[in-house]
């Protein structure tokens, strides 16, 4: 059985809400919805901006697990045995082994005079099996000019857009790019002592720096260029089956001793430290913005309830005059505040999960280094709903308490 004051408070609140002006109620709920969105969406976009970068790196580069050469090695020893081992793991859906070497790309060399500076750009040259690579990372879909590599595409190359001046018009001595290079242009590729002329088959654009700075060739030709006849690759990206745990796969490989001759990392392990730092910073910023949003919400509700209680001071006085307990009146305002917070949050939740999250997933915000999505984990969102309700409860209680403790007769007569 509810205490009498709570029952009376609920009775009064219900009627006050039911018979309140529709416009006023709508306006208050609208403010609460905006406050809720401020709480959830601002921090969600901040985190989502990075989550987009993380997702892209996972999808386009590392995949779920990446096995790469140890820091002091140029390649993974016994790569073919390792690939066979990986393919026996039940969680693995597909893999893409890659050969990688630093090299120099040169363009416009035919027209260059002896006195001219060579138009070169350093880049990571990567030999891939185009079918396997596309199965794991789907980067063929990122081609913006020309087309992706196919098996047997000898003397063909696909360039990441960061290697081309028309896409990165930045003049800096430490970052050189190729000029006047497009699909069909012949360029020189130099790896170690080997130089080869190749034709640009396609240009791919990616927000993952590791991809945007790479030049791709078919693995069979690249292997011969770098003299890797033993088939030892530099890295292998593993795409796992739906629901498989990357950590479990990493541990399974470690248990089989793979970590003795290769670096085994989940996509999270492979995140650069700066990204981890930025995530921590953005999370902190998100919390700061959320806290500010919460303070704004509290003040908003405080003002709304204070004005409401102030304009209804006479009726509060009458209620007290006819013997209604002040606590019951306080409860009625607290219930009204909770109602506004819950309805505002419910509408906000509907907007976030019914519209904004799917919308940003389908139409990410085009940030320079990531496709920003809206990250709103249910547990954090409901925690914020709880915070909003609690702060609203306090914000509703205080003004009601302030008005109720005034002299009953002064309230009835409107005296100050």
């Amino acid at each position: 059985m509810m205490p009498l004051n709570v029952r009376i408070g609920f009775f009064l609140a219900l009627r006050a809400l039911r018979r309140a002006s529709l416009w006023t109620t709508s306006l208050i709920i609208f403010v609460m919805v905006l406050t809720f969105l401020n709480l959830v969406v601002v921090s969600g976009i901040l985190v989502g901006l990075l989550q987009g970068a993380i997702d892209q790196t996972r999808t386009k580069f590392t995949s779920d697990v990446i096995v790469s050469a140890l820091n002091d090695k140029k390649y993974i020893e016994n790569s073919q045995n390792l690939i066979e081992l990986i393919e026996t793991l039940p969680e693995v859906e597909s893999i893409t082994p890659r050969y990688r070497e630093g090299g120099i790309l040169e363009a416009n060399y035919k027209a260059r005079k002896e006195t001219d500076k060579a138009n070169t750009a350093p880049g990571q040259l990567v030999g891939i099996d185009p079918v396997k690579e596309n199965t794991v990372t789907g980067i063929a879909g990122d081609i913006i000019e020309g087309s992706f590599l196919e098996q047997g595409d000898y003397d063909q190359i696909v360039l990441g857009h960061y290697l081309l001046k028309q896409y990165i018009p930045i003049e800096t001595p430490s970052f050189s790019t190729l000029e006047n290079v497009g699909v069909g242009t012949k360029i020189r590729v130099k790896v170690g002592d080997v130089t080869r002329e190749v034709t640009v088959k396609g240009i791919l654009k990616s927000k993952v720096d590791e991809i945007a700075l790479r030049a791709f060739m078919v693995d069979s030709q690249f292997r011969s260029m770098i003299g890797r006849t033993d088939g030892n690759v530099t890295e292998i990206s593993l795409k796992l089956k739906e629901g498989a745990n990357p950590v479990a796969v990493r541990e399974a490989l470690e248990q089989r001793g793979v970590d003795r001759y290769a670096k085994v990392q989940t996509y999270e392990d492979a995140q650069p430290q700066f990204l981890k730092d930025i995530i921590a910073t953005f999370n902190m910023l998100g919390n700061v913005f959320s806290s500010l949003g919460l303070i704004v919400a509290t003040i908003t509700i405080f003002i709304v309830i204070f004005i409401n209680a102030l304009t209804r001071r006479k009726f509060i006085g009458i209620l007290k005059g006819i013997g209604i307990d002040g606590h019951a009146i306080e409860f009625s305002y607290v219930f009204q505040s909770i109602f506004y917070a819950l309805i505002g949050s419910a509408v906000g939740l509907g907007l976030v999960y019914g519209f904004l999250v799917p919308f940003f997933a389908a139409h990410p915000i085009d940030f320079p280094f990531s496709d920003g999505i809206l990250v709103a984990p249910a547990d954090q969102t409901f925690f914020r709903v709880g915070l909003l309700v609690v702060s609203t409860l306090v914000a509703g209680y205080i003004p009601a308490w302030m008005i109720i403790r005034r002299n009953t007769l002064d309230s009835i007569l409107g005296r100050n």
Binding site: I318, K320, G323
Partner: protein, 224 residues
């Protein structure tokens, strides 16, 4: 039943002190109908507010049913008002978002009655006052006379010992005022103690006793 001893009320505004009640001795007995009259500013309403515990006097004593109210806490006074008093205000003082039925039922609910019982009692009381067809109406949908009748029904629904009325007909036309006074007469016949402030002599004459106030003092009493 209710007794005031040297009741004083002063208001302070900065350095200006205004004495509104200047030592009033007053006594009423159970079942009596007392009308308080006086010119504007005489202190009639202030006297009523002190007796009904809506305000705290600056000096003197108020004894109700043997209880000296001086030592009562605000909560005790609230309970006293709820259980022993009924109020009729000049401007009806109905709660605008509650229907006539809910306005009447509210003090009953606060007194601890269940919703069904409170509503039954409220309906019966409204029907007795000829407002059975108005139970679902909000105050804004009622005439002034109807609102005041609802206000009276609310004031007496919980059988208070004393009914306080502050100029209950001041805002009403003659016909409505007469009807309100009929209700008061009926209540009085039923044994209800009534203390009523009015400036209308014709209605004051309905009371058993008329107390005249002037300048914060009782200047005359007229028994009828």
């Amino acid at each position: 039943m209710i007794e005031t001893k040297q009741l004083v009320k002063t208001f302070k505004n900065g350095d200006v002190v205004t004495s509104v009640l200047k030592g009033i001795d007053f006594k009423t007995r159970e079942g009596e109908w007392v009308a308080i009259m006086g010119r504007s500013g005489a202190g009639k309403s202030t006297f009523l507010y002190q007796m009904s515990l809506l305000d705290d006097p600056s000096g003197g004593e108020i004894v109700i049913d043997g209880h000296n109210t001086h030592s009562m806490s605000a909560n005790q006074k609230m309970l006293f008002r709820l259980s022993k008093f009924g109020f009729v205000f000049q401007d009806y003082a109905l709660l605008p978002e509650l229907t006539a039925l809910e306005n009447v039922a509210l003090p009953l609910l606060m007194a601890g009655l269940g919703k069904w019982v409170a509503y039954q009692k409220a309906v019966a009381a409204l029907e007795r006052a000829g407002l059975g067809h108005r139970t679902g109406n909000l105050p804004s949908q009622l005439s002034g006379g109807e609102q005041q009748r609802v206000s009276i029904v609310r004031a007496v629904a919980h059988n208070p010992k004393i009914l306080f009325a502050d100029e209950p007909t001041a805002n009403l036309d003659n016909e409505s005022s007469a009807r309100i006074m009929e209700i008061f007469k009926d209540l009085h016949k039923g044994g209800q103690t009534i203390i009523m402030v009015t400036h209308e002599e014709q209605y004051a004459k309905l009371a058993q006793r008329i107390v005249h106030l002037d300048d914060g003092r009782i200047v005359s009493e007229e028994k009828r």
